[in-house]
């Protein structure tokens, strides 16, 4: 191996890489923009929709209540809802969004209230429909407040304090530091994204530098130069690996920045109550270190497979199923209840994904980390060896 020659190949591949618009899109633009777009898009659209839904005064229909004039009078005074006249097709009206909710008052409600007989007020709404839920919430709030006022009146009549109903309070308090909370909530997602994007970042250059060379006819040109196949593969591999790492670093930076901005916005919106989205940066660095051998594995494997193809299109069709093979274990790791076990520590992709999940929540099982790092390095070395061997096979290079 001649490092100088490897460097010459790498520099040339890098020059071509940065001049390729498609590469810039897949390796730089997508990882940089996907999170801001996703976060701004999802948060923006959902908060706009919720805000709009909250502004609306929901139309509510009252079913029954003829014998409860006091309740009806209170309901009509309640400003947060608009009472509409009763219609027998009230269910259809809720479904058609003409009415947001309906409240069914039992016959003889006020009489039963006086006598203390148990009774139920039913609130009808359309589940999954945001404005209908808000309408139902407001009606429910009215009835709960009404019930509380009745209770207070009765207690006052018997000279009892309101605290008689709740002699003590129960409250949960978090002791975990913010980064641990973030680790548990979005940390698993970070590990998953690093793994997925380190692979997607490698796909395009892996194809471009193998099947792409064959399709353009430059493979024969480079093979006629005195460079050894080993140096050629290593130079190409380093470029694919760089692209893979670049995509992962850019995506996590973009994700971290997006979350930080979102936390800040939420902080100012919520009057000081911070949204726990700050990442522990030391954990992120560790996740990257764990992802490095996996990135080597992806880069070498994708290059090896893509080399079998004669054209860019053919290589894409080979690599699409491989993407799923890598994505499925990564998804499995973020499922609740999937924990790192000694056996799973040897399953490529899944092991790294699981250990990243642990690292992000601040748990460092050094023996597992060592086993996973070593096993992934071993898989990566095998993949790189395969890539070099494949580049020496005439039947693959000159497949017709």
């Amino acid at each position: 191996m001649d490092l100088k020659t490897v460097g010459i190949v790498y520099r040339k591949e890098f020059t071509e890489w940065v001049r390729d618009r498609r590469t810039l899109i897949s390796t730089v633009l997508v990882p940089l923009l996907i999170f801001p777009i996703m976060i701004v898009g999802i948060v923006g659209v959902s908060s706009a929709m919720v805000g709009k839904a909250k502004q609306e005064t929901p139309k509510v229909m009252i079913i029954g209540g003829e014998n409860s004039p006091k309740l009806l009078a209170n309901l009509s005074k309640f400003e947060n809802i608009e009472i509409v006249p009763y219609a027998s097709n009230w269910k259809d009206q809720i479904s058609n969004k003409e009415v947001r909710a309906a409240a069914e008052i039992p016959r003889g409600f006020e009489t039963s209230l006086e006598s203390g007989s148990p009774q139920t007020v039913k609130i009808y709404y359309y589940e999954g429909e945001l404005k209908s839920s808000f309408g139902a919430d407001r009606v429910e709030k009215f009835f709960k407040d009404y019930r509380d006022s009745v209770v207070k009146e009765r207690l006052a009549a018997k000279n009892l304090p309101a605290s008689v109903l709740s002699p003590f309070e129960v409250k949960q308090e978090n002791v975990a530091p913010p980064e641990k909370v973030s680790g548990a909530t979005i940390g698993t997602f970070v590990g998953y994204m690093v793994i997925i994007l380190s692979m997607t970042g490698a796909i395009y250059p892996a194809i471009e530098l193998t099947a792409g060379e064959k399709e353009r006819g430059t493979m024969e040109t480079i093979l006629s130069s005195p460079i050894s196949r080993l140096d050629l593969v290593l130079g190409k591999f380093l470029l694919v690996f760089s692209a893979s790492i670049a995509a992962a670093i850019l995506s996590v930076t973009s994700m971290g920045t997006s979350f930080a901005v979102l936390s800040h916005v939420h902080l100012s919106d919520s009057g000081g109550q911070a949204l726990q989205l700050n990442l522990g940066w030391l954990s992120v660095v560790f996740v990257f270190l764990m992802a490095l051998p996996l990135s080597v594995l992806f880069s070498a494997l994708l290059m090896t497979i893509a080399l079998f193809a004669k054209s860019y299109k053919e290589a894409q069709s080979y690599l699409t199923p491989i993407t799923f093979v890598a994505v499925i274990p990564a998804i499995a790791s973020v499922m609740p209840g999937v924990e790192l076990t000694p056996k799973l520590a040897l399953v490529p992709v899944l092991n790294t994904s699981l250990v990243c999940k642990e690292i992000m929540t601040g748990t460092y099982h050094w023996s597992s980390i060592a086993v996973i790092f070593a096993s992934t390095c071993a898989y990566a070395a095998v993949a790189l060896f395969l890539a070099v061997k494949t580049f020496q096979r005439e039947s693959v290079l000159f497949r017709s």
Partner: protein
Amino acid sequence: MIEARGLSKRFQDKKRGEIRAVDNVTFRCQPGQIYGLLGANGAGKTTTLRMLATILEPTDGTAVVCGYDVVENPEKVRANVGFLSTATALYPRLTAQELVEYFGRLNGLDEAVLKKRVDEIFQRLDMNDFRDRRCDKLSTGMKQKTSIARTLVHDPPVMIFDEPTLGLDIMTARTITAFIRECRDRGKTVIFSTHIMSEVEKLCDVIGVIHDGKLLTKGTLARLRDQYGEHDLEEIFIRVVSPLQTKVEV
């Protein structure tokens, strides 16, 4: 010098079984000479030349190029060879100069020598107008000149041309044939494959006729004319590859 000794190449094909693309080919090509490998499509020309350029490894036999064995010292062989064919394309996103420099560096030239060499070649081939233009923006003629510059950058003593004029327009083809002649005049060993008879007649000092992977005959044009009693090279070629076929009278 090039010396092929019983050079053979077999491929395995799933449908057709074993294919002998090149079968026991032996010939010698001297410095200052153009050796023309004449054959129809699929005769084994490209495979032979790819073995000489060490892009493919022989199944049997070997060849010695500039004193280096193609099997034992393939990298040394490639350092002494300039290989040009219509299949050797250019990197589209490099400029003409970057491409030539890249191959110069791969051939181990240091930066000072490389710069001098590139300037000299670009001047000689009249390429200065497009030296900073990307290869995907070059015309066919400019691309061919860039390919020539690539093969010349390390000043190899042996030049291998595999059907270099295939599919080119007449002006570009003339640039290539002029370049091949110039290589011979500079004392380089040149081997050149084609199926175009007129090119062979114009260029080659020695002709080898290859058919079904076998080198059926070789010699100067004058010797072949004597041997087969024909003046026209096309008739000689037909007599060599299918001896039973009678001459078509027009």
